[in-house]
Symmetry: C5
Subunit: 100 residues, 5 copies
Amino acid sequence: MVFWGLEVKPGKPQSYDPKVEQGKVHVTQATLGQGLGKGSSVIQCSKGDKTPIYLCSLLPNKTECCPLNLEFDDDDETVEFSVTGDRSIHLSGYLEEYDQ
Amino acid sequence: MVFWGLEVKPGKPQSYDPKVEQGKVHVTQATLGQGLGKGSSVIQCSKGDKTPIYLCSLLPNKTECCPLNLEFDDDDETVEFSVTGDRSIHLSGYLEEYDQ
Amino acid sequence: MVFWGLEVKPGKPQSYDPKVEQGKVHVTQATLGQGLGKGSSVIQCSKGDKTPIYLCSLLPNKTECCPLNLEFDDDDETVEFSVTGDRSIHLSGYLEEYDQ
Amino acid sequence: MVFWGLEVKPGKPQSYDPKVEQGKVHVTQATLGQGLGKGSSVIQCSKGDKTPIYLCSLLPNKTECCPLNLEFDDDDETVEFSVTGDRSIHLSGYLEEYDQ
Amino acid sequence: MVFWGLEVKPGKPQSYDPKVEQGKVHVTQATLGQGLGKGSSVIQCSKGDKTPIYLCSLLPNKTECCPLNLEFDDDDETVEFSVTGDRSIHLSGYLEEYDQ
């Protein structure tokens, strides 16, 4: 196991290629980043040219974190995470190494 | 693993046949879609002619996402997801491929 | 896997015998049913003559759903689910068939 | 699997010895008990003479239940659950029998 | 299994080396500690010289606890947990002993 984290900032989509990791990634939490914005921040995931899917929506001073349960491994294509809203979203979880 | 997502819009029930997938689907999150509606949006699942069961109820500006834990595979019949309320609901999760 | 759901109405306790199922039941979510009641609805589970245990408490317009994680299989005795409050509670999850 | 539950009342700490069970206990939910108290109720767990650790904090009319994920088995020493606040907290989950 | 807990106080980062444990640690919950502070408390995790990642953000009298799902084992480097805000955060979970 290795701790895994990624901060996604508003307006700065991040490509994520699960093949670069040495194991299966478990994304288990989303937490609102710092900032003064009061509107919701939504993190989306898209694959290829498909419509993005919302992963969670966080609300300052109301619901600032939410458990997730996503897994990515070698069979996955690159996905793109993006955030809309005023504040970044931190994804966290852990990496389960492949057997050697 | 493959990222999996589905947006269900209000008044547009969607049949979902788990047999079309190449693996077991883990539905792990529901998130409220865009819109200005202020009432709750509820996603339901029904199988055959049985009474629909509510899967979760999301509230704009209060609770906009909720973890789920549903699994579907080859043994499942087609189910129908439907949303009541003003806004769509995004389901997300991942596909665990069958061994080959 | 087979989708599993059960609506429990206030004042109408429901016996549930896990032995009637062809597999292990995973109860993974509780969602508030329709209605105008504004007080909390609580779902309880009791076994034999033991004191009922609260499984979750849902609040209209505040917290209308909650993840659960209960498993029932052939080794379980019959339990009784009951709801106190104004509105029904929908339990959902999935059935993991026994190997054949 | 066997349904498992325990109500812990304020000011009445309960010793819990996992060795008395015929299996591994999965504690998966905490729910606020009945009462009129409006302040938070906190459930703690302590082991031997170590400082108690808070397991969750429930708020009447705001957050009356919370998923947990604790496991206890034969290797565990006795722990003590205690509740501070006005209302009891119900723990629920299931027992996974040891293979025989 | 052994109950596992750690209180992290504001302004007092704690190094945590998973190698000192006799098993894999499952960190499954975060709960706000005692205090009168009314602002949010955020717990972060950092590894080496990487940017800290937010694990969750708790709000007094609104959201005082949150499920987590992190795993640490022998393959992990030392991480550092730190809390910003007025109140401490209690992490809890369990230790799954390594086979002997």
